[in-house]
Symmetry: none
Amino acid sequence: MISSIAELISDRIGAMPAGERRAAQTLIANYPLIGLKTVAEFSAAAGVSSPTILRFVARLGFQNYPEFQSSLQDELAAQLQSPASRTLSPSSPGGGAVSPMLEATLDNMRETFRHLSDKQLADIVAKLADRRGKTFLIGGRFTDPLARYMAAHLAIIQPNVFHLAGQESVWRDRLIDMGKRDVLIIFDIRRYQDSLVRFAETAHQRGVQIVLFTDQWLSPIARFARHVIAGRTAVPSAWDSSAALFVVAETLIGAVTRQLEADSAKRIRELESLR
Amino acid sequence: MISSIAELISDRIGAMPAGERRAAQTLIANYPLIGLKTVAEFSAAAGVSSPTILRFVARLGFQNYPEFQSSLQDELAAQLQSPASRTLSPSSPGGGAVSPMLEATLDNMRETFRHLSDKQLADIVAKLADRRGKTFLIGGRFTDPLARYMAAHLAIIQPNVFHLAGQESVWRDRLIDMGKRDVLIIFDIRRYQDSLVRFAETAHQRGVQIVLFTDQWLSPIARFARHVIAGRTAVPSAWDSSAALFVVAETLIGAVTRQLEADSAKRIRELESLR
DNA sequence: CAAAATACGTAACATACGATACAGCGCTCC
DNA sequence: GGAGCGCTGTATCGTATGTTACGTATTTTG
């Protein structure tokens, strides 16, 4: 079976005329980036003419040059998204149903954080730690627990943290309490829930700043969000994984706590004494 | 100093209008491949118009779209040529609060699964998939969301799954419904809650099989538990991390789903039709 | 509340890109 | 050594792509 274009090339390079072979060698040597450039650049790099490049990709079985480029991009996407899985998977020979799941989850986390800059997190932390407004949290069917988890922690280190739960009509009415200074943290992954989108839209119209936790395909709520955290969710399971988002949530919780160091320490002592 | 376009974006995303921010977010979420496609595809993915994409790249300082794409390609080339740079880059900026947290969490997961045998997980899966009894889930102050998360999934693929929540008196009374064939999944990490321990003890006396999710120091409930999953919780934060337990939970959910493949598929179809 | 400024999308435009027809050259085989 | 075939490059064409101008909607400011 042939899985990559590189293999396809080395498979057929023997049956190619000289010019196309030069094209093939140039592509292999600069794989795959030269193939993403224009035909003109590719041909210049290979030292052949444009038509030769086109004949080359045609011989590989592609209908046209864009189709060839799309294939290269898809390949690249798969490679970028699971950098470790191909190198690490042989290391765990046991092959129970466990390790693929773990490996995929670890990859997801690395990948999620790779797309997440310190700056972006710092902005969110600053917003959450700036206590002039209220913080609301809400989640979808499977992500509501994440909202709860985050709310449980944030509520300890600062006042005015509210988790929105229960029937839609209940939390929809809470919109009346939300304004410009407030922050709304929403968790929403596929399949995105209409009720949440509507809620987010209304909140946005009221000037509420929205922090969205979603998957890599971005919930439509991203449209209204001030900050978007896109977590990877793909795992070898019938379900999507929220683990990466969970870890981001924990990271934020930790960072906000550190930010509010002085205040939160006092608050925690006070809470202790209440028991 | 700004070395990558991703950093450049997160640096300026705050000063962008809504549409361009949306473009920025989709690029970060699908970095960098979406930026190598055509303006039309990029704009469609971001849900904005082509000119917005062009204004976006212009704001980043590029003269035109091709120049922007070249930059992305150069970046990609550098990244592909030294695969190690990807794993090293997060550690390079001096002490962002991010990577230590992530690294610790990843370590926790690896360590947690290292102490977890396939056999042990298989036993638990078999027990959960054996549907002659009921399944109850309950958690502590911070771990209740994990119980909810697991319950939300299990309840879809099989009947008789109950999450115990609310006031102590409420779920304590549910003990009357629990018997030998039933399973009780408890989440309990430091500081262990007395109420949970008492609950577990009573359930144990009634013959309920207990599956305990706890930390490496083991909740006292371990004494009554049939299966104990000990997750690592230490991270550089004021709080303990439940991420490792979360991943174990997701793994179990996935495994049980696979086990009940036929049944659950039918159930899910039936649920879909109810909507 | 009004007015200005900013931002966004629609539509027309120009360019540059990929595709193709054709001619020249070299190679092989009779 | 000559005729035929195949490979390659030049030049041209059509089109898809990036670009820009302009009108409308939205937000901000006085």
